[in-house]
């Protein structure tokens, strides 16, 4: 029996032994430690059945925009370079330049999320639970795009499903120094990637508590981060930490980056659920989208890369570029679920790797970006003026 098998059995034994002493009543978890593995994640957006947050409807996607921009005129011939490749250029080399296509932002006073800046501003939302000052400008960007809306937006569905299915996405939050899962003013929080499949039920889709995980220091050391937190009335709140986290959505080794990420999770001995909120790095988010969801997939649920990029840039509210002053990050929140998991004790080599881990960095964008003026000239001719030229469909 190798070390891995022995450790798994020991951990399972420990889990079974500890199961009787529920921490729900405020008892400390075994060894004052509890860990949770992520099983679901999707961008936290307001999505009511009546779509009151989208009074003008939902956005067009790649396919609809193509038809709008390049109508199939009888007798006329369109070139691939001037149509398809032009749109691909605008997708792979996006600019913040306004275009003539309509874009419908999520509207209304309500959106899920957290107050990230401690200030209640005019653009802030109120959470569905009534908390004020919620910073979630990503809700305005994605709120009226079918791909991202609950309950069954295609990209939302697949990205959520892949969190459980793909080992690459095995984010683990481990709490140590926990005296009570109900109230503890100070706990240590470690975020890292696990290496193993999640324990699921016979159907394969429902995560179960009590599984085991090894820490991934071989490939995932860039994801290791530490922060502090507190537990109040069973809710964990962590201090902000800049966080690179793995999120493969379609078999691509892609990541996301959140500046000042903080967790707000309701804890139980079996799992955790709540939000991870912070300022999402726009270039990293967009590259993640391009690599996982090229034009075909964007068409599943009518989204458009260039439109999203322009909206993100327009609504960005953090991390101004020192040179241009343009913000490079946008307030956001992920709705996430976790299952309790037993992390195998770290070996000496793993502890050394943890101590030496260097946090990953965000993607910084194309080194030679396409100038906005170039797109403006192509889109509007020589006299670009407005973001809402007279194209059919503009509200």
């Amino acid at each position: 029996m190798n070390r891995f098998h022995r450790s798994v059995l020991l951990a399972i034994s420990a889990a079974l032994a500890g199961a009787g002493a529920s921490a729900a009543d405020g008892a400390a978890p075994p060894e004052n430690t509890i860990a949770y593995v992520i099983t679901n994640a999707s961008w936290a957006l307001q999505a009511t059945p009546e779509m009151s947050e989208c009074p003008h409807g939902l956005n067009d996607g790649v396919r609809e925009q193509f038809k709008l921009l390049f109508p199939d005129v009888a007798g006329g011939k369109r070139t691939l370079v001037d149509t398809q490749l032009r749109r691909q250029v605008e997708s792979y080399h996006p600019t913040a330049a306004p275009d003539a296509l309509p874009f419908l932002e999520g509207e209304g006073p309500v959106a899920p999320g957290l107050d990230l800046d401690g200030v209640e501003g005019p653009e802030d939302f109120t959470s569905p639970e009534g908390a004020r000052g919620v910073d979630n400008q990503l809700d305005r960007v994605l709120g009226c795009i079918a791909n991202y809306r609950a309950p069954d937006g295609p990209i939302r569905f697949f990205e959520d499903e892949m969190v459980l299915r793909e080992n690459y996405n095995r984010i683990i939050v481990q709490l140590t120094g926990v005296d009570s899962l109900v109230d503890d003013p100070a706990v240590d929080v470690m975020i890292f990637r696990g290496r193993d499949k999640v324990l699921v039920d016979a159907g394969g889709l429902k995560a179960l508590p009590g599984g085991t995980q090894r820490i991934d220091t071989r490939w995932g050391s860039r994801y290791i981060r530490h922060t502090r937190g507190r537990i109040e009335k069973g809710v964990l709140s962590t201090e902000p930490v800049d966080l690179l986290y793995p999120w493969d959505a379609f078999y691509m080794p892609t990541d996301q980056y959140m500046w000042g990420a903080r967790f707000r999770l309701t804890l139980t001995p079996e799992g955790a659920e709540g939000l991870m909120a912070g300022y999402t790095d726009i270039e990293t988010w967009y590259m993640h989208m391009l690599r996982n969801w090229s034009a075909h997939y964007q068409s599943y649920g009518k989204s458009s890369g260039p439109a999203i990029y322009k909206a993100m840039r327009r609504l960005a509210d953090a991390r101004p570029d020192p040179a241009t002053g343009a913000n490079s990050a946008i307030s956001s929140a992920l709705a996430a679920k976790f299952a309790e998991v037993r992390v195998l004790p770290f070996t000496g080599a793993e502890q050394a790797a943890i101590a030496a881990a260097k946090p990953g960095v965000p993607y910084r964008g194309m080194p030679a970006p396409r100038p906005a003026e170039e797109e403006m000239a192509e889109t509007h001719g020589s006299a670009p003026t407005t973001t809402t030229a007279a194209l059919p469909g503009n509200p």
Binding site: D72, L80, K197, Y251, S299
Partner: protein, 448 residues
């Protein structure tokens, strides 16, 4: 995270170990294959990457164009029939979503026809069917060779016997173009085993795709893998009826269990391999993957670099290496990835249409002026950076760049640190259709 120096040495050592497993320098056995009847003069050539391939009497590799279902239709050859036209395509076919067909293709004045790129393997009136080989009547009245019902072509890219520049035997997944494939004799492996093409060589695996291993301390006469070891490394069993032949022999374990051995080494699979093509067992000291034929090693200045998903080839500074893949959406599905092909798609992808921006975003991996490829697989080509095409002889400003299968190699300037793979999959359909892909030496998460 390891220090830079430790990482560099670790990578170098891993690289050396892997090459050893693939066959010692100077001793590169070819993949065994099952001989079969062929038309007069036809032969088998041993290619560097794909192993044995069938070739015509002049040594030119033979290809088929398998029928392929795409997003919005099908293309390729049906059995016994060539759909490779002798007139150039002018419009896109709309086979790939979401863009419509009927768009005028770029650079039409230079666009070749399918048959110009893929000369049919014509047969003479006197040629007769033999074994799996048959002679079919083309629509133009001429005769064409077919293998197992698939009509055959040569590639204008191939110049020497053993070249396989027109296609390859890599796995091309769902949304790849309808690519041409070299036709190959069956690998001579026992039932229950298979071979797949990887960057490192022709990987021996079980029929279910699990990698096969050998132990350094095993000899043809004795296994050093005891009962405890067998819990992790499970012998690949040979049935009672199995008989030794060629590179294959039967090793009888102390328990009496019969085990396949290849070139004198008993074979195992690794119990903890998480998926197909995993090579995680090679992390255990003394254990190596088994290749029926090693691929030529990359240039010595390249290194193996750890990433969040496994290992990639990288330049001397640890920057991930990429190649560019492209097949156009015309009915004939011609390549647009080779320097002699149109560069319109690549320039759009890497620079928004600007060659200058392309060169800054995706710099060519330049080779030293005196560098020469040590194989056909890894070569040095001369590129005109203003166009992306091969340069003319002694052309001023031409770049001397490393190439894989004669396709230039790039880094991505958006990878700020060693181990980043920010451009992997950047393109249409995760770049299966068009775009940049990292050179995955080992992928522990996605089985590439």
């Amino acid at each position: 995270m390891r220090s830079a120096n430790r990482g560099r040495w670790g990578a170098a050592l891993a690289f050396a170990a892997t090459l050893l497993s693939a066959g010692a320098a100077g001793a590169k056995p070819a993949e065994p294959y099952i001989p079969e009847a062929m038309p007069p003069g036809f032969r088998v050539e041993i290619s560097e990457l794909d192993g044995p391939v069938f070739a015509d009497a002049k040594g030119r590799t033979l290809y088929r164009w398998p029928y392929r279902t795409m997003r919005n239709g099908v293309t390729g050859d049906s059995k016994g029939q060539s759909n490779c036209a002798d007139t150039p395509s002018t419009e896109s076919a709309g086979l790939m979503s979401p863009y419509p067909g009927g768009l005028l293709l770029p650079e039409q004045e230079k666009r070749p026809s399918c048959q110009q790129m893929w000369p049919p393997a014509f047969a003479a009136d006197s040629d007769k069917a033999v074994g799996k080989w048959s002679v079919v009547h083309r629509r133009d009245g001429r005769l064409q060779w077919a293998y197992d019902g698939a009509v055959l072509y040569t590639s204008v890219r191939d110049r020497r016997p053993g070249d396989v520049l027109g296609g390859d035997s890599y796995r091309h997944q769902g949304d790849a173009p309808a690519v041409r494939e070299p036709i190959q004799p069956r690998p001579d492996v026992p039932p229950g085993l298979a071979v797949s093409t990887t960057l490192r060589g022709r990987l021996l695996q079980t029929a279910r795709g699990l990698s096969v291993y050998a132990f350094d301390r095993d000899t043809p006469a004795r296994s050093a893998c005891d009962a405890a070891c067998e819990q992790d490394f499970v012998p690949v069993q040979a049935p009672a009826a199995a008989r030794a032949r060629g590179d294959w022999s039967i090793f009888t374990r102390e328990s009496g269990e019969r085990q396949w051995a290849f070139r004198g080494k008993p074979l195992y699979r690794y119990a903890a391999d998480l998926g197909v093509r995993s090579v995680a067992g090679s992390d255990v000291q003394g254990w190596r993957n088994v290749y029926t034929q090693a691929a030529p090693p990359p240039p010595a200045e390249f290194r193996i670099q750890d990433t969040p998903s496994g290992q990639v080839l990288a330049d001397a500074r640890g920057r991930t290496l990429y190649n560019y893949t492209c097949g156009d959406d015309a009915p004939d599905q011609l390549s647009c990835e080779y320097p002699a092909d149109t560069q319109v798609y690549r320039l759009a992808m890497c620079g928004g249409g600007s060659a200058e921006r392309c060169a800054r975003n995706f710099p060519y991996v330049e080779a030293a002026k005196d560098a020469r490829g040590q194989s056909r697989l890894w070569s040095v080509v001369e590129i005109d950076p203003a166009t992306g095409h091969f340069s003319a002889k002694d052309q001023p400003g031409a770049l001397h760049v490393w190439a894989y299968r004669e396709r230039p190699i790039y880094t991505f300037a958006g990878d700020a640190e060693p181990g980043e793979v920010n451009a992997d999959g950047l393109g249409e359909f995760q770049s299966e259709r068009e775009g940049f892909r990292a050179f995955w030496w080992r992928d522990d998460f996605f089985n590439r």
